[in-house]
């Protein structure tokens, strides 16, 4: 498969801290790539740099053939990227509906698409006209993901969607991620929960200290506990 997103030698500085120190990896089209690593390895910074929310100080980021590392965030978004930040960043003063109206940038809300979303997130239908601020954490996460898929996008960047959520909700999210994947959308997913990563990931990239230290197929990585232990400091037995 041809890569949809390619990062080459990306460096990012935040203030005087050198966070990304030459990140290289590719996200193949139509697959779900997991970005794993310890806390502070630079995963969130990588996603933010791709979105243009931090500026890369060196290196190149390509979406298919187009260089996007110098583009402003709105242009990157319009090139077909959608972003689900770790903080969810739902607009709490706006209703669920209004959140999705804004996310549907190109046209009015599409009923078929909405019905598809309500299929795995029925809560959003139920609280359609409630202020997003009144939703529970899990519901906010659903809304945040719904915003990213309310219109078809080429690439979804999702940052730790299961963080702090109850197991029942995690199940619904995994369902949703699988469904997105089946729809053929490319996903770059940061995830701490290795079970989730294993369930939805096709490929895996592991970060440490601002660099990619391993890239390969998920199946292979999941089978190699020694490698997991070495790269993530965890194994399936100790984690969760």
């Amino acid at each position: 498969m041809s890569p949809l997103l390619t990062l080459t030698g990306v460096h990012t500085h935040i203030g005087r801290y050198h966070i990304l120190q030459g990140v290289d990896f590719t996200v193949p089209e139509g697959e779900t790539t997991m970005l794993l690593g310890r806390n502070g390895a630079g995963k969130t910074t990588t996603l933010r740099t791709i979105m243009g929310l931090w500026r890369a100080s060196a290196g190149s980021i390509r979406l298919a053939e187009r260089a996007i590392e110098k583009d402003a965030t709105p242009d990157i978004s319009r090139a077909g990227l959608a972003y689900v930040p770790e903080t969810m960043a739902v607009f709490s003063d706006l209703t669920v509906r209004e959140n999705l109206v804004l996310a549907a940038r190109d046209a009015a809300l599409d009923d078929t698409r909405l019905a598809w979303i309500f299929g795995f997130f029925p809560a959003l239908k139920k609280f359609w006209l409630s202020r997003a601020g009144t939703l529970s954490g899990g519901q906010k996460q659903m809304l945040s993901i719904a915003r990213a898929i309310v219109e078809p996008r080429r690439l979804l960047l999702i940052d730790e969607p299961t963080k702090g959520l109850a197991p029942a909700i995690v199940g619904a999210l995994v369902e949703c991620l699988m469904e997105i994947k089946r729809g053929g959308t490319t996903v770059l997913l940061v995830e701490q929960n290795f079970r989730v990563a294993q369930a939805v990931g096709d490929r895996v990239c592991v970060m440490d200290n601002g660099r990619i230290v391993h890239a390969g197929a998920m199946a292979e990585f999941a089978g190699d506990e020694g490698l997991q232990q070495k790269l993530l400091g965890l194994s399936l037995d100790t984690h969760q």
């Binding site: 709105p74 607009f91 709490s92 003063d93 706006l94 139920k126 939703l135 519901q139 029942a168």
Partner: protein, 336 residues
């Protein structure tokens, strides 16, 4: 995190009505102290009209802050610009302003208002380019540079129009009072109240019913996410900045006609008042600004009647009391 399932009922968040009731409570509480109900009506209408004018001026200031974290210390300059434009336009229209018919009085004000708002908006583009954009995101420099901008604008107005007070008589048709029972209410103040209510209603409609409004509210809460959804917030910001400056210009026209005089010193004088109002309301909140403006003006009018010396510091005292109760103002805007 507690169990989250889609079927669970949402905790009903009760809407925050207490701040909105404050002006009513204040007005009722003042009544027994003032004694005469006709005086009370006059004072209350005076307070409401003054509050509406301050609201018109300050609404843009609070929105710009909410949206971009930019506090423009030079916002008051656009009030002064509006006031001078009113004087400029109304002078040759003396025929209309001196006519007795209501329509001719209003017809004279219309071009004055349009010119004032247009010139303020146009100048605001230059102000934003020259002073705000270069120091964007640097609070300290932003405060200093926009404050410098206020001084320079004020001095330029003196240089252009002279340092003296310019008289600006109210159109004849808007003079005088309407008598309700034994309470006299000035016509112009009623007009100011109506204009203020129209501005407030329009702003609220835009903010809640249009996509631009949703974007502004979303931007106030999380600028980055609005950009990540593909909207250019810089354009939105300039639009809001221009609209806010135009409203300040309109407020300047209203204020000048209320005082029946024009002077560039209103820029500084009203900056302080606007700051108090938006602090009381909660920085970034239009509704808060509306309530805050009415509160400040009512308190000023009641105090001016009951304890004139206290009126000198009544705004500050009100601000202190409100902040002791709610340290971020009446309607704290989320996330900031």
């Amino acid at each position: 995190m507690t169990a989250i399932d889609s079927g669970a009922a949402l905790p009903k968040r009760r809407a925050d009505f207490i701040p909105a009731l404050l002006p009513v409570a204040l007005a009722l509480a003042a009544l027994p102290f003032i004694g005469s109900s006709s005086t009370w009506i006059t004072l209350t209408v005076a307070g409401l009209s003054m509050g509406m004018m301050i609201f018109a001026m300050a609404s843009g200031l609070t929105l710009v802050f909410g949206l971009m974290d930019v506090l423009n210390f030079g916002h008051g300059a656009f009030i002064a610009v509006g006031a001078y434009m009113a004087a400029l336009v109304l002078a040759p229209l003396a025929g209309w302003t001196q006519a007795d018919a209501l329509w001719s009085g209003l017809a004279a004000l219309l071009p004055a208002v349009i010119v004032a708002m247009g010139v303020s908006a146009a100048l605001s583009i230059a102000f934003e380019r020259a002073l705000i954009r270069p120091v964007y995101g640097q609070h300290l420099k932003q405060i200093l540079v926009t404050m410098g901008g206020l001084i320079v604008a004020e001095q330029l107005l003196y240089a252009l129009f002279g340092p003296q007070l310019i008289a600006l008589p109210l159109p004849t048709a808007l003079r005088g009072s309407i008598v309700f029972g034994d309470a006299a209410v000035e016509k112009y103040r009623l007009l100011a109240v109506i204009v203020g209510l129209v501005i407030f209603a329009t702003l609220i409609l835009i903010l809640t019913r249009t996509k631009i409004g949703l974007l502004i509210r979303a931007g106030v809460e999380n600028r980055e996410m609005v950009e990540a959804l593909g909207y250019r917030i810089q354009r939105l910001f300039i639009g809001v900045f221009m609209a806010g400056s135009a409203l300040a210009g309109l407020g300047g026209v209203m204020w000048a006609l209320y005082r029946e005089q024009v002077h560039a010193s209103v820029a500084q004088e009203l900056t302080v008042l606007m700051f108090i109002v938006i602090i009381i309301g909660g920085l970034g909140s239009v509704t808060g600004c509306f309530i805050g403006a009415i509160l400040v003006a009512l308190v000023a009018n009641y105090a001016g009647f009951l304890v004139p010396k206290l009126a000198l510091v009544s705004d500050i005292l009100l601000m202190v009391v409100i902040l002791l109760w709610r340290p971020r103002g009446l309607f704290p805007v989320t996330s900031r």
